[in-house]
Symmetry: C2
Subunit: 306 residues, 2 copies
């Protein structure tokens, strides 16, 4: 057992990206969580959280995504020691920016480094997804894949992820000032059990075009493929003014706009990001909701040891 501590940074991410529910993720630049994992003699997991929105992040191992990853390693490997983790939140929780995913991804990378394990990316994604499962009740891997590997990611069966270099796009994220008790669970509770074949074929087509846009480096095609007929109509209601804000983004020149992950943030892609962000914020204001705007770009880098 190594006694050193490992510091890892993992970027925020947007999952789904419109057509790719539970499939797509993209890592974001300039926003992320930093974790420090250290081995401690007592065989349990202790957690310390600081930074943006730390108050709303649970610090028990079972319900914190990073803690759940460490708890899983502890139990699965029957280790005779424990872990202490300090999480410095840079990704505000509850916005749809992969906050729990960034913590889980950073922790998965850190604990493997600490234990001298050389996991392949599939195994890393699977481990980080355990953390997501603890928080959301569903071990989806879209956010953790992007946070771990950077770029644009496609989650396949058994956590087999295809990672592609991200497109050169501006991403506008606007977050309304609305709050929910366990937002991820709420967002998942709104999912339909069935969708029309028409909607599904539409999503298959747009998801395919989005991957082609990433491969071809076509920002306009990328933006135009941000269309989701399967999930968006069911979740729109949890975001006040959703349709007007989306329309405002399009009117301001965005190529596409949808819900970031489980929301409530909206993201848009297009030229003149400041103007698009302003238009979206004004539309939220007209719906009586304050909002915060973030202008960002994809991150080529994923989780990295500091």
């Amino acid at each position: 057992m190594s006694t050193k501590q490992i510091n890892v940074f993992a970027p925020a991410s947007i999952a789904n990206l419109g057509p790719g529910f539970d499939v797509f993720g993209i890592a974001l630049d300039g926003l992320g969580d930093t974790v420090r994992v250290e081995a401690v003699p007592e065989p349990r997991v202790t957690i310390e959280v600081s930074g943006v929105g730390a108050d709303s992040v649970p610090d028990e191992a079972g319900s914190n995504s990073a803690g759940a990853v460490l708890q899983h390693v502890l139990e699965d490997d029957g280790l005779d020691h424990g872990f202490h983790i300090s999480i410095e939140k840079g990704v505000p929780p509850g916005r749809g920016l992969g906050s729990s995913g960034a913590s889980a991804a950073a922790t998965a990378r850190a604990v493997c480094s600490l234990l001298g394990r050389d996991l392949c990316s599939r195994e890393l994604v699977e481990l980080a997804a355990v953390g997501e499962g603890a928080v959301s009740g569903s071990p989806h891997a879209d956010n953790v894949s992007a946070s771990l590997l950077g770029g644009f990611t496609i989650v396949g069966p058994d956590y087999d992820v295809v990672r592609m270099n991200p497109p050169e796009i501006d991403i506008i994220v606007v977050t309304p000032d609305v709050h929910y008790e366990n937002k991820t669970r709420l967002a998942r509770s709104l999912l339909p059990e069935k969708v029309s074949l028409y909607a599904a074929v539409n999503n298959v087509g747009n998801a395919s075009r989005m991957v082609a846009a990433v491969a071809l480096g076509d920002p306009v095609l990328f933006g135009r493929s941000i269309c989701d007929q399967m999930i968006e109509p069911h979740r729109a209601g949890m975001i006040p003014g959703f349709w007007k804000v989306k329309q405002a983004a399009i009117d301001a020149g965005a190529h596409g706009c949808s819900i970031a992950g489980g929301g409530p943030s909206l993201f848009a892609v297009g030229p003149e990001p400041s103007a698009i962000g302003r238009a979206m914020a004004e539309a939220f204001a007209e719906a009586g909701v304050a909002s915060e705007t973030l202008l960002t770009r994809p991150s080529d880098l994923g989780a990295r040891v500091l």
Copy 2:
């Protein structure tokens, strides 16, 4: 009005390719229809069909895909002359190899050439899709896109098609000796109105991986992404022995296997195509059905004037 005649060849194609129902198409090498379109004084469309399976191809303008394209041009443009078309079938009809699509694609290309029109690929696809609509009752553009543009194609909204260079793969096509009255309409009548969200997400994921495989030139990933949980289960019943033939392909080393277009052919992708083809044919034989095997590869070229 030019009086010359134009000869155009357009390749066969496989649509859907597993996860991409009504979205994906791939052009096939070494198999195609050749059409000769000429302007004639009388303002109507006459059709002559020869070649493989010519007996089963209607020669009335309304119900022949090539004739429907010409009829549409005639009416839409209010021309004062007509067309005579000779179709030399190289794509056997009723197999799921885009036979009507190849004729429609070749005809769309030919009539534009004849009239000196320079249509963009979106307009060409839309025109050829009119022909598909006449035959199948649904103007889907997956086959005609691949036949027109060659390579691997993704059909988007309003016939906006993304075309990618095809992957380096061997394609095994095995056609059981079963026949249906208007097979395309039958295949479409089996479609479900709704699908489970689980199946839809699965198809979105596999379609996305298939596009990534095309972009990355990864034949194994391409083959493994041939998974369809939305349509295949509903159409499998129209193909005797379907599940056993599919399993035989996988057991013989295929990376993936599904229904070619509306069937009844199955296609598989993998190494050692002869062995895979043999295994599939044997499985059909065990199900009491004779079959025919075709070993082919994608065609980079689409419809071309001869």
